[in-house]
Symmetry: C2
Subunit: 116 residues, 2 copies
């Protein structure tokens, strides 16, 4: 498999050949996480409709949920205006965050008096 050439041409890769991927929950609009992809990860994501990232720490592909069961079923994918980020709209099974929280951004607010 290889990523469609027209899609690959729209992407701007960093020095490691990667681009950012934001996962947003379809039903709620919640921003779940940010991770990284290369062309192969995006191809796998589009082909399988399950979000697949490149793990920078483990240096391997990582289909979300493979070990945790917390799969992300991909409904939509968009590349941003300058090509260095993709937005995945997903149906999230279970928790998106390795901490067990639904979103990786379910953390204390930095803005006093706002948020939680």
């Amino acid at each position: 498999m290889a990523l469609d050439a027209d899609i690959a041409a729209q992407l701007t890769h960093n020095a490691d050949g990667l681009f950012a991927a934001i996962a947003q929950e379809r039903d709620t609009g919640t921003v779940l996480m940010m991770a990284w992809m290369d062309d192969e990860a995006l191809d796998r994501t589009l082909t399988t409709r399950r979000a697949t990232y490149w793990s920078r720490s483990r240096q391997e592909y990582w289909m979300k949920g493979d070990t945790s069961g917390h799969t992300q079923y991909v409904h939509d994918v968009r590349i941003d205006c300058d090509g260095d980020t993709v937005l995945l709209v997903v149906d999230q099974v279970g928790a998106a965050c390795h901490t067990g929280k639904h979103s990786c951004f379910d953390t204390p607010s930095l803005v006093p008096g706002d948020g939680n």
Copy 2:
């Protein structure tokens, strides 16, 4: 000014001293854009409540809307679980994208039959 030390300690910076910043619209949940910050940009954002990024191409701070008028009024800021991304919840004036579109992700879907 300097970023609060407790906040700075929660951040994981890349080789350029930067971390990712996602802006999400408060009212609609729309993911508007992804850009970059350093500690000073986050401090300015928290202090002024106007989203301020670090422009990698221009190598300068960039208060969103300074030239375009398309200010992002910051309602909430969260750091993600591993500290390399912040999520800004904003009220967006006008278009977030330099193309004139409301969101930088207002682009064709890569998923046939879905999206638009």
